[in-house]
Symmetry: C2
Subunit: 156 residues, 2 copies
């Protein structure tokens, strides 16, 4: 397993923004991201899961610096309605970087096991072939990084 994970990256200065209850119709993702991009707000992780009953949640992270700017943009969106705008600054992002993650569900399960053993709750998950990104409570960052380093036998 170790050869697969080459490193662990993390970022504290993250703010998680969720548009809860957007309608799942073509164009909504653009109508959220377009105005943010027009304001040069750097959006990092974007996660949207499948809709249930025609609505879904659209979550992304921005830096602390862009937080109030992003909030202003989202409160003035034209063609997008949502049930709730949830902004949470008490988060950190942790990424496991490697190669060939996809062929090894074992990497993800090893990572999730080490967090579980340390009672760390995973708030968001976003993966690609070469990277697993999770969002957790900021206060859990240090123990999460420690747990993952030891699970994958990486140098600190």
């Amino acid at each position: 397993e170790n050869a697969l994970v080459s490193g662990i990256a993390f970022q504290k200065d993250q703010v998680k923004i969720t548009l809860h209850g957007v309608t799942d119709t073509p164009g909504i993702a653009y109508q959220i991201l377009g105005p943010l991009s027009d304001e040069n707000i750097e959006v990092d992780v974007i996660v949207q899961n499948v809709s249930v009953n025609g609505k879904t949640d659209f979550t992304f992270t921005v830096s602390e610096e862009d937080k109030s700017n992003a909030e202003a943009v989202l409160q003035n969106l034209k063609d997008v309605t949502y049930d709730d705008l949830i902004i949470d600054s008490d988060v950190a992002k942790v990424s496991l970087v490697g190669v060939g993650m996809r062929t090894h569900a074992g990497v993800a399960s090893t990572a999730f096991k080490s967090l579980s053993d340390n009672e760390i709750n995973i708030q968001m998950i976003s993966t690609s072939e070469i990277k697993i990104t999770i969002v957790i409570k900021e206060g859990a960052l240090e123990s999460a990084v420690k747990a993952l380093h030891s699970a994958f036998e990486l140098e600190k």
Copy 2:
């Protein structure tokens, strides 16, 4: 924008599996992924968004080949309860690959605009710094790839 996106990858043979309504407590992600990994089931995109009222949805993709195996594993999970198991084979995965996506929310917004202009609904989104992955209906794959190629002026 174009210099940022170096290519578009896609995969038809994907099955989207959603555990709707899992409890958002430490260990649940491991208790879902662990048994799948024990069965050597290759899990590709994993997406989980923030919970609302203590529950969230956990979605991932597997190949058609692993579909029935994965279904059997999920129906026998020990410590995980969920409201619904939703399996959808009518999906395809499209990924935009590039560098420095994060600093350019414009890349994501350009991609989402081109899909919106072609009335293509985005079912799932998962991004990292160098890749945007979306899941759409399988029938929309050809027009999505065409739309994205022209939005980023890539050779077919």
